[in-house]
Each structure stands twice: as C-alpha cells, then as structure tokens.
C-alpha cells in the first residue's frame, strides 16, 4: 500500500531531514488536532472577536470537563482492546440516584452520604461490566450495548416521569461558581487527567494495559492477569462517570431522564479522533484531550460564525464532516508514515 505517496527520500539530504522531521511532527495526531483547534479559533476570532473572550472559553472548558473525565476511562478501556458505549446511560442512572438521595425534595440525605454512594454505585456497575467481559467472556460492545438500553430504561422507570431539582445549594454553587472562581468540574478534570497520566506513564499498571491491548496472547504469557486489568479499566470508567455526574449535573437546571443522551457517542468519537487505536494497544492521553476540546468547540463555533437560519439545520452535518475530516486526514498522514517506514526498513 501507499507506494507513490512516499516523500522523496534520497535525493538531497537536506530535504530528507526536513521531510522526515515534518512527517514525524505531523504523525503525531496531537499536532494536527492542535493546528485545527488554533486555526478554527483564529478564523472564528477574526469573524467575531467575542469568540476569543475569557467567558466563552471558560464556558467551553466547563463543557469539556465531563467529557474529558469520562474519556480518560474510556480511553484506557479502548487501549486494552475493549469498548464502553454505556457511559451516557450510566450517567443518567447515576444522576437519578444521586438526585433521589440528596435533593431537598426527595430523601434529602447529606452530601457526605449521597456522593460516596454515587461513586460506589458507578464503580460497582463498572466492575460488573468488567466481570461480564473478562469472566463471562461476553464481548464488551455487547455488554455495554445491553447496558446502554437497559440503564436508560431503568432511569426512566425510576424517575417516573418527574424531574428532580433542588440539589443542595453548596453542590450547585461549587458546580457553577466553583472554588476561587474555577468551577469544580474543571478542577476535577485536571485531577483526573493528572491521575490518568501518572497511571499510564509512571506505574507498571499502565504499561500492562498497553501490553494487554497490543497482544492479549503475549500479555497472558508474560503472566499478566487479563481479568484483573479489565476489571480495573471498567471499574475506573464507572468511577469516573460517577465523578463526572457529580461535578457536572448540578450545573444543569434539573435532573431529567434524558441526561447524558448520546454522551457515549461523543466520548467514543473523542477517543477515536484523539488517535487511540480501536483495536487496542495504542493511543495518547493528550490526543484524546485535544479531541475533546475540538469536538466541544464545534457548537459554539457554529453559533459565532452565524450560519443563518437554514445553516443551523446543517449543524449535525458539519459536526459529522468534522469528524470525518479528522479521521481521514489522520489516516492519510499515518499511511504516509507507515509507507516511508517500510521503505526505510527495506
């Protein structure tokens, strides 16, 4: 494959060095994503300078937070060669449970009970998913597809057609105004990103996850416990989903059964656009985070370039094209890279 697109190698050492350097740079999807984000911001900023204001970007970052938090977990799931498409429904269920417990109109328990309970429930459901996948040998896409449907139904049943509001004042204040002016969801996201990055780079667990994803066979032979690793990634994702629910949902006007709809698609899209190989074993956190920013900024971008009334109905099409563009260009560059590597090897 890709015979003809190989950069001109071997004519002029200078060109070679430059082109190799460029190829190396562009190979990192992160650079491409960063370019796309910067370029879009600049273009929209020229059209309407308000877009570059502090308030707008604070709003965008606040919206990124829950996606980023959950993507940290789903990314690790994908790295091990599995997938999780149940996070949206899980978020709805957790929001409903949390609301039931701590809302002043409902049980009115203390946050000190309600929040740990929500975290436990999220982790527990994640661990259950993980055990079905690892012990029960049910493919993860099937387990989480089943949960996607079942948990949403359970949430609707639990809510009984009513909404929950009046969460404790303290929690909503933290979510909206935050500590020292930084919304709690951003602080949490920073914490989770730090934790996940330590996990990936600085402790053996991270390397094991990648090893498991690139070849389950050799990982097994090296004595890694597939079951334990998979329980961990799904449990971690469940925990992070609960965390995202706790810091993000109080920002919304009310808890209704539709919370988190299509969230799973957004998260998986971000993970994929961020360069994590769907077959496992590859992917960098920074790419995923940039993809989260890119995907989240599409909506405000479309508002700020003011595409008109008819244009608004094309919103979804433009979002889709963006994803397609990101995926296709990346494949184009990585093919070039692979091609030139092959030639080097030869």
């Amino acid at each position: 494959m890709s015979r003809s697109q190989t950069p001109t190698i071997g004519h002029d050492s200078n060109t070679v060095r430059l082109s190799v350097r460029f190829a190396r740079l562009i190979r990192h999807r992160e650079v491409g994503l960063l370019l796309l984000i910067t370029l879009t911001s600049v273009v929209v900023g020229i059209k309407d300078i308000h877009f570059l204001s502090f308030e707008v970007w604070r709003d965008i970052l606040v919206r990124c937070a829950p996606t980023a938090i959950v993507a940290c977990g789903v990314m690790l799931v994908v790295v091990t060669g599995e997938i999780d498409i149940s996070v949206g429904s899980l978020m709805a269920l957790l929001a409903a449970v949390m609301g039931r417990m701590i809302s002043e109109n409902e049980l009115d328990l203390s946050c000190w009970i309600g929040i740990p309970a929500t975290l436990c429930l999220g982790t527990l459901i994640g661990v259950c998913t993980g055990s079905l996948v690892s012990l029960g040998r049910v493919p993860s896409i099937i387990v989480t597809l089943g949960l996607l449907t079942a948990l949403r139904g359970l949430t609707t049943l639990m809510m009984g057609g009513e909404n929950i509001d009046r969460l404790p004042e303290g929690l909503t204040q933290l979510a909206k105004q935050g500590l020292f002016g930084v919304p709690i969801s951003i602080l949490t996201a920073v914490g989770v990103i730090g934790l996940t990055s330590v996990l990936i780079h600085h402790i053996p667990l991270g390397r094991r996850l990648y090893a498991l994803g690139s070849s389950a066979e050799s990982a097994r032979m090296a004595g890694l416990s597939e079951v334990r690793l998979k329980l961990f990634v799904f449990g971690y994702t469940g925990f992070l989903t609960a965390l995202a629910t706790i810091v993000d949902v109080p920002r919304l006007p009310k808890i209704e059964s539709g919370i988190g709809s299509e969230f799973e698609l957004l998260v998986v899209t971000c993970v994929v656009v961020g360069g994590v190989a769907i077959s496992g074993g590859q992917g960098r956190l920074i790419g995923v985070l940039l993809a989260v920013v890119l995907m989240t900024m599409i909506r405000p971008v479309l508002t700020f370039i003011d595409i008109g009334e008819a244009g608004e109905k094309w919103t979804r099409a433009i979002q889709g094209m963006f994803i397609l563009l990101a995926v296709v260009t990346d494949s184009f560059f990585s093919r070039r890279q692979r091609g030139s590597e092959k030639e080097h090897a030869a």
């Binding site: 609707t156 009513e162 059964s257 003011d306 008109g308 009334e309």
Partner: protein, 317 residues
C-alpha cells in the same frame, strides 16, 4: 359498545369496564406526566380502565406500533397525541376501521384519522402567545435581538410553532437573530444559551420552546448574570420553572392547564364510547370543568395560560 375487533371477548355485558388507551408523545417527561395525573382523576371518576403508555424516546414509529397493539387487544377508545401526524395516521385509520373510537389530544392528527381533537391551543395561538408574552414583558417598543432555542431540527411541533412565531415577530421591533437546535439534550441547551448570550450583545430575549431548552436557556441567563437584561420565555410546566420565575430570570411561562387537558381527554373518550358524544355536537359536559364548547370537531379546553410570579404557586403540575 364500540370496538368489536380482534380477540375482544363478545361477552361485553354492561358491567364490563370501558378500556381507554392514552398515548402521549413522549412518556416520562413531566409535561405528559401531569396530563396523566388529570387522566387518572377522570378515569377514577368515570369508572373506566385507563392504559397509559408511549415511547420514552418520542419515536412516532413506536406510537404506531402501540396503536396497532391496542387495536388487536380491542380497547374501546384510543387517545393519541401524535408526534408526527402522517406516521401514525395509517394505524389510527385501521383502528377506526376495526370499530375503535380514536381521538387526538395535545396535537392534532390528519382529519380522517380521528373523530375529535381535544384542542388546548393551536400552533398559531401558541406561537403568537409566546411572542406577545415576550413583548409584554419587554415593552412593545423594545428593539433588539431575540433567539429561539428549539429541540431537534426535525421536531414537528416546534417547527410549527416557529412558523407561527415568525410573522408575529415580524410585526414587532424585535429581530430574530437565529434558531438553535440542541436536541433533547440539557447540556447542549445550556451551552447554546450561553453561546448566544456571548454572541449577541444586543440580545433581549430567548424563547425556549421545548421542555429541555426552556430551563436550559433560563439557566444560561442566570449563570451569566444577565438575569433581567435578557428575558427568557417559553413553554413549560409551572413546577419546572418556579425557581426561575421567583428569582426573576423568567417573568412569564406560557402553557395551558395540562392536568385539565388529560382530564378532559378521558371525559371526551368516555362520552364518545358511551355514545353520548355525536358528530356535530356543540358542547360537552366534562365533570369539574363544566360545559365546554365544541367547534367543528375540536373540543376546546380554553385559552393558553400565562404563569407569572403572582399566580405560579397556585399550580402544582
């Protein structure tokens, strides 16, 4: 007795309870839950059996499927709030052909698919009501931008209301800057609200015309600290909006009495099945609502209501 289809037992003695199926557009949202409350009240009063089911995702295809099931189960009356009139029309016509009485409520279907429509407000009344409320709250001479935050680009009801709002806005000095479609997604609705507030410095008002986008827009205004400068109005049940009305972000909420709507629907269904309501009738007695007029084949619930700080606490739905 009407309804003699499918497996329905023929031993329909006088003591058999009438079975009335009530089909909402979306099951599980507070709007239709409050309608259901009224319907339950009427069912208890009239001694009929009430079946309440609908798609939780608002898929009209599932509505058609449920109508077909009820046709086979041989219920006596089916009351449909069609999410897409054309999609459910076929199933409704078949139900009628099988001898089941079919009425529409909340939103009308095609005329040949039902015998009566329990009309709480026409699309035009809703659209104009929303614009007039906004103008009243802002002052009729106000100039500036307004934005509509709808549901999906394909939402039939919202689109009909928008079409009705446009001419009414055209007559005012307000300029419709844009229409956003966040879907039925609370985060997107909040996000769109925040974005339009930053984008349009001369923004005077936001219309939130779905049960998700109205609170979302109100929340966005509140969080941006523009409460009072940017007014939000829209359609919602009073319970959902009480906190925004009390803190001044929202001055008026437009809706009708949804509990009464459910209540009236069951009364109409019962009267139709019992043969008390015939084509061309001019009025109907509906329990605690008294005598209500019928215009053509539309049973009129009454005018749309505007909930404000003064009266919103009197309603609990």
């Amino acid at each position: 007795m009407t309804g003699t289809s499918g497996e329905k037992s023929t031993d329909s003695s006088g003591s058999r309870k009438l079975r009335i199926a009530l089909l909402p557009k979306i099951k599980g949202i507070s709007y239709f839950s409050s309608c259901f409350k009224g319907a339950e009240e009427a069912a208890k009063e009239l001694g009929v059996e009430l079946i309440y089911d609908g798609p939780t995702d608002g898929d009209p295809r599932k509505q058609a499927e449920m109508i077909e099931q009820w046709t086979i189960d041989g219920v006596d009356v089916i009351c449909v709030a069609p999410n897409a009139p054309d999609v459910v029309a076929g199933a409704m016509k078949e139900a009628r052909a099988a001898g089941i009485s079919v009425i529409t409520w909340d939103a009308d279907g095609t005329t040949e698919s039902r015998s009566f429509f329990v009309n709480q407000a026409s699309a035009r009344a809703i659209g104009e009501g929303l614009v007039n409320t906004m103008l009243q709250d802002l002052g009729p001479e106000t100039e500036g931008d307004v934005v509509i935050i709808s549901a999906d680009a394909t939402s039939a009801n919202q689109n009909a209301w928008i079409e009705a709002m446009k001419p009414a806005l055209g007559k005012s000095k307000l300029n419709l800057a844009t229409i956003k479609y966040p879907g039925e997604n609370a985060s997107n609705a909040l996000a769109d609200g925040q974005d339009v507030i930053s984008k349009y410095p001369n923004l005077k008002g936001i219309f939130g015309i779905s049960s998700v986008s109205f609170p979302g827009a109100a929340e966005a205004v509140e969080q941006s600290g523009k409460g009072g400068q940017v007014l939000v109005t829209g359609l919602s049940t009073p319970n959902d909006m009480k906190k925004f009305v009390h803190n001044g972000t929202v001055r008026s909420v437009v809706l009708w009495n949804t509990v009464d709507l459910g209540y009236l629907t069951i009364h109409v269904a019962k009267a139709l099945a019992a043969g008390e309501l015939k084509d061309g009738a001019a009025s109907i007695k509906a329990g605690r609502l008294g005598e209500l007029s019928i215009v053509g084949d539309n049973v009129m619930l009454g005018d749309i209501m505007v909930f404000t700080k003064a009266n919103i606490d009197q309603y609990d739905f």
